[in-house]
């Protein structure tokens, strides 16, 4: 019993990370009824931009760079967590501008458009940074490991899981407890009335999309030190994100979070006992659950199943 505990903990931290990756995807699916397949590429882009900013050659004018490098790493890391998502948010805004033309049509078109966008972003990453692996620098305080009950634990994993939980909580607060969240939810529920109430719906959608993109970039920076940075990481992230949403059920916040944790546990536990097949476990989990529950765990009726 005692030796399964580390694996469960590992699965839980992994699950929180999956939930974090899925968070932006979920906002866009739930509030705009659009599947953003570029989510993974934006996640990767966030990691690359973060890596570049924390690396020895930050992408800025020379005198700024000197001042930037003079800051302690902890400060630079904290600032990167804010600045890199803004950079990626601009790219997200571009995607949304293209996507506007597909609103009101078959959701298939939005999905295809973002598939194309994902291809373009991934290829652009390859052109800019090449295909080699990179490492994201993290401050001393959250790297390394500690020993507890004769086992070595990675500090970073706990930090990542903690910050994932905090971000999930914050997003929940924004959606459920602020007037902005109420408007966003109303926009998903009945866009015509929201427009009749004098709210600029296209600006609202743009804001939601940018917010979702920024969450993807944050997730990229948080997850990068664990998974490593390489062009393929986008695909490695978007498929689990999509899976978590479908498993949790479209339009359900806690559905997605619990699905993320469930997937993390499944991957963590199979990873411990049959590591070759650990990635398969999430798909089997999905098939097992969606076979019996047509709308995932807590799904609601949505346009996406027409």
């Amino acid at each position: 019993m005692i030796d399964i505990l580390p694996h469960i903990l590992n699965g839980l931290t992994l699950g929180l990370l999956f939930a974090l990756i899925a968070l932006g995807f979920m906002l866009i699916v739930g509030l705009m009824e659009q599947i953003n397949l570029a989510h993974g590429s934006l996640f990767a882009l966030g990691a690359y931009v973060g890596m570049q900013m924390l690396g020895p050659r930050p992408p800025m004018p020379a005198d700024w760079a000197a001042a930037w490098l003079a800051l302690p790493l902890g400060w630079r890391y904290a600032l990167t967590l804010v600045i890199a998502p803004c950079v990626v948010g601009v790219v997200g805004a571009l995607v949304e501008f293209c996507m506007r033309r597909t609103y009101g049509k078959d959701p298939l078109y939005g999905l295809l458009l973002t598939f194309g966008a994902a291809m373009v972003i991934e290829e652009a990453i390859r052109l800019t940074w090449g295909t080699r692996d990179y490492v994201l620098q993290v401050p001393q305080a959250i790297s390394g490991g500690f020993i507890f009950q004769d086992l070595i634990w990675s500090t970073y994993r706990f930090y990542a899981a903690g910050i994932a939980a905090v971000i999930i909580g914050l997003v929940w607060l924004v959606i459920e407890k602020t007037p902005y969240g109420a408007i966003i939810k109303a926009g998903a529920h009945d866009s015509e009335i929201v427009r009749a109430l004098g709210i600029n719906l296209s600006r609202l959608r743009l804001a939601v999309f940018i917010f979702g993109t920024m969450l993807a970039a944050v997730a990229g920076i948080i997850v990068a030190p664990i998974w490593g940075i390489r062009p393929h990481m986008g695909v490695d992230a978007v498929v689990p994100a999509f899976l978590v949403i479908v498993l949790g059920g479209v339009g359900s916040f806690w559905g997605a979070v619990s699905a993320g944790i469930l997937v993390g546990l499944a991957v963590g536990l199979t990873g411990a006992y049959a590591s070759e097949w650990s990635l398969l476990s999430m798909y089997i989990l999905l098939v097992a659950i969606v076979t019996f529950r047509a709308r995932g765990l807590f799904g609601k009726k949505s346009v996406l199943e027409a």
């Binding site: 597909t102 295809l112 598939f115 194309g116 291809m119 052109l127 498929v239 047509a294 199943e305 027409a306």
Partner: protein, 345 residues
């Protein structure tokens, strides 16, 4: 509307004029493809992917089912062809039939899980099964050869009893694939214009309405998925012959995405021939842009975005609207003159 309007004479024909033109055009490819700087093998690839895309479009365009893991059946067909050749028989016909059956079997298996699902849940279930089969293909070394693939597959001779064709060189293999292509085109044309095909089309327009008319929607969804899987498996078997090997790569999510792209870029949602247009565009673009720059996915991705934005019905759709637009203008002109006649009298 996928295919031809039911009142068009072509809908009732076994062989239509368009088919003849397409076949004749394809039959001449080996004569000139080298002259324009491409190579004969590309012709084979185009035909095989066309068979695959046409059978995929039966699911996506005709029945409106978003299947994003179709590469599985193409891959299963390829592996089954190789394994049948090594273990069962050295007859081309038996091996191709087994490739088709194996893929259809995989199709039934998947269809039984997904046919009661709709929309995003359906789409993601197909992705999940795609990933499951793909992982198995990579990990099950003893059968599939893992990432190295199943090598040393041979192009078996096409034995018709009285005469046997050797398919080892690319030209004769091309004509063999063309023959298969012709059979598949006829079969699919009849299928989409049969009562069965019209029910599929009704399901695409509204599943709920089709169910209320008394059709067992799930049975139609499952059967069309199986048929499409079997035909994709046949294409996969041919692909194994063309490549002389079977690799897990065709089953990956990327490759399954490409077939969706090809079908939609060409205009599979509005035209029977759309998928073929898409395959030609995709493969030629891959070779031409790929020869000019290493970042061909970047340019192709941009092209794809442009098509989704400005011509969502694809190349065939754009072509059709040009043709119909001309007709509509002519009709409008007629209408105006008829009105004038009315007012004059």
């Amino acid at each position: 509307m996928n295919g031809t309007a039911p009142n068009s004479p072509d809908a009732a024909r076994l062989i239509t004029p368009t088919m003849l033109v397409v076949w004749l055009g394809l039959a001449t490819i080996p004569l000139w493809i080298s002259q324009i700087g491409l190579y004969p093998y590309l012709g084979i690839e185009i035909l095989i992917w066309s068979i695959y895309a046409l059978s995929f479009n039966l699911v996506l365009g005709t029945a409106g089912l978003p299947s994003f893991g179709h590469g599985v059946f193409f891959g299963v067909g390829a592996y089954a062809f190789g394994l049948a050749q090594f273990n069962v028989s050295s007859s081309l016909w038996i091996c191709l039939t087994l490739a088709m059956l194996a893929a259809a079997l995989a199709g039934v298996f998947v269809a039984l899980f997904i046919s009661h699902r709709r929309g995003i849940y359906y789409a993601f279930m197909t992705i999940a099964f795609g990933q499951i089969f793909w992982t198995i293909a990579i990990k099950w070394h003893s059968v599939t050869g893992g990432e190295d693939g199943l090598l040393k597959i041979e192009r078996l001779p096409a034995d018709l009893g009285f005469v046997s064709f050797d398919l080892k060189n690319n030209a004769s293999f091309y004509y063999f694939v063309l023959a298969v292509f012709i059979v598949i085109v006829i079969a699919l044309w009849r299928l989409t214009h049969s009562p069965y095909g019209r029910i599929l089309s009704a399901i695409r327009q509204s599943e709920t309405r089709a169910a209320h008319l008394g059709y067992r929607v799930w049975l139609y969804k499952a059967s069309v998925f199986t048929i499409s899987a079997g035909m994709s498996g046949l294409a996969g078997g041919l692909f194994a012959m063309a490549q002389l090997a079977a690799f897990p790569d065709v089953m990956s999510l990327h490759q399954s995405g490409y077939i969706v792209m090809m079908t939609l870029v060409g205009g599979g949602l509005v035209s029977f021939w759309g998928p073929i247009v898409g395959v030609v565009t995709f493969l030629v673009a891959r070779d031409v842009i790929g020869a000019m720059t290493s970042a061909w996915m970047l340019w192709f991705g941009l092209l794809f975005i442009a098509i989704v934005l400005f011509k969502p019905e694809g190349i065939a759709g754009a072509f059709r609207s040009v043709v119909d637009g001309g007709k509509a203008r002519a009709k409008r002109a007629e209408g105006v003159s008829a009105l004038r006649l009315l007012f004059r009298s």
